[in-house]
Amino acid sequence: MQKEKVIIAKDLTKRFGNFIAVDKITFCVEKGEIFGFLGANGAGKTTAMRMLCGLSLPTSGSATVAGFDVYKQNELIKKNIGYMSQRFSLYEDLTIRENIQFYGGIYGLTDERIKGKTAFLVKQLHLEGEEKTLVRELPLGWKQKLAFSIAIVHDPAIVFLDEPTGGVDPITRREFWELIYEASERGITIFVTTHYMDEAEYCKRVSVMVDGRIDALDSPSNLMKDYAANSMDEVFLHLARKAVRTGD
């Protein structure tokens, strides 16, 4: 049985003048899959992700995200995805409850649903009694877990995570991944970039971008077999060392 595809990209390309930031990438992501999107700085990950999120128009090629076309339906894409990065997450001067209400409201959830979601999130994250705490006062790890939960508050088809765990302590980093697994079991597709190669191994499949192209795409265990490597770190070094381009 063929699984439903949440992302279908074919020859997706983005040029800036003479510079080809993303060079004909072709791949699919299945519903509920945890998909790792790897690449060295400057390989084109951010540009590719911006196209998939409906924030930047491709130069050529095609892609659908959650069934919507990246050229014509980018507003619908934005409504049906979640997004979280290390830089942009929550409003520091709003409380936990206010942040949930704010994002719930933006995504058009009913008051009743927001109420239910607030109760669920507070319980899931063990934040009982902290609803009125300003987000600014939470430790980084809690902020990141809360930011993830709020990024999926509207039960999107897919959530894009851009280096969600940078600088987080190792125990909290793992708690964060438990939340990712749970969301994936509920059918939410996870599209994640990371510099931690052990996290790449938690993904069902990973792609590695080199100089704007996808040079490898498979499950971590198959990639390790193909490159006769003991870890994803070795696979990554092997592929990324070929890069001609450097920088961000």
Binding site: N41, G141, G167, I171, Y202, F236, L237, G247, D248
Partner: protein, 306 residues
């Protein structure tokens, strides 16, 4: 003489409502020519510690010296002797690569030519872009320029605050290779990082969390302190497997590590048999169980829980 001495350093930050203890009594020493790693997550106090040692911030109490000079009374001497690369890019974005380097050489009363040997290896990689404005460089090139500027006056002690954060695995590896070549020139290096796997590249490390040092040792020493057998287990159903293991009362901890879960039991007897039972009961498929050596991250998490 030790290159760096820190004795019971305490630093708190106060706002209207809260008092946050950034450093709660930090003590350690760094030998001359050593690469000493300060390993810990964001908020551990790494940057506060570096600012105190580079005389940019005063501690509430405690004593510290760098290259034999007191950080409070002899700050001028220290500023001449240390190189400091802050975590946030702090060069002049509207000066070119070469102008930035000349600026730092001039304020330290030296010239690029005088110490070119020291930076050659690093600077050559960005020299083709020497007329480009620093603000327009890529992350990796900014990092190399910042390191060149921190080295241009031939410091005896180099402080690098999270030089590899947000940098990809290939550039991180290259950066550490550069540090090892600098060590050969006799420079003492204090480097902080949130990446636990970089601990193995230091001569000695201090593991730090919430303003307290959890352990100071060689990387091998930290690992030998772990003290309990560690098991790695995998199956096709990783997430349910973790739930089953955590439910077992004999289990002390279970953390995912790439394709395996790492498991520690409260008591050491029959632990492999216990894991086999858990795997059988849950009908997990393609199970693999074997004993492994802990890594620094295993040790850090065990120490965090103590």
């Amino acid at each position: 003489m030790q290159a760096v001495i820190a004795e019971n350093i305490i630093k708190t930050y106060r706002t209207k409502k809260t008092v946050a203890g950034a450093l709660k009594g930090i003590s350690f020493t760094v030998d001359k020519g050593e690469i000493f790693g300060i390993i810990g997550p964001d908020g551990a106090g790494k940057t506060s510690l570096f600012r105190i040692l580079t005389t940019l911030l005063l501690a509430d109490s405690g004593y510290a010296s760098v290259d034999g000079f007191d950080v409070v009374t002899d700050y001028k001497q220290i500023r001449n002797r240390v190189g400091y690369m802050p975590g946030k890019f702090s060069l002049y974005p509207d000066l070119s690569v070469q102008e930035n380097l000349e600026f730092f050489a001039t304020i330290f009363d030296t010239s690029i030519e005088e110490n070119y040997d020291l930076i050659k290896d690093i600077y050559q990689q960005i020299e083709p872009f020497k007329t480009r404005k620093a603000g327009q460089l890529s992350g990796g090139m900014k990092q190399k320029l910042a390191l060149s500027c921190a080295l241009i006056h031939k410091p005896s002690v180099l402080f690098l605050d999270e030089p590899t954060t947000g940098v990809d695995a290939v550039s991180r590896k290259e950066f550490w290779e550069m540090l090892h070549r600098l060590k050969l020139q006799g420079i003492t290096i204090l480097v902080s990082t949130p990446y636990m796997d970089e601990a193995g590249l230091c001569d000695r490390v201090a593991l730090i969390q919430k303003g307290e040092i959890l352990s100071i040792n060689t990387p091998k020493g930290v690992i030998s302190e772990f003290g309990k057998p560690l098991w790695a287990i995998r199956a096709n159903e990783m997430f349910p497997l973790m739930k089953s293991i955590k439910e077992n009362k004999s289990v002390e901890s279970c953390y995912p590590f790439g394709q395996y879960h790492h498991v520690v039991f409260k008591s050491q007897e029959n632990s492999k048999e216990l894991l086999e039972q858990i795997a059988q009961k849950g009908n997990y498929t393609q199970v693999d169980i074997h004993s492994i050596e802990p890594n620094i991250e295993d040790c850090f998490m065990a120490l965090m829980k103590e």
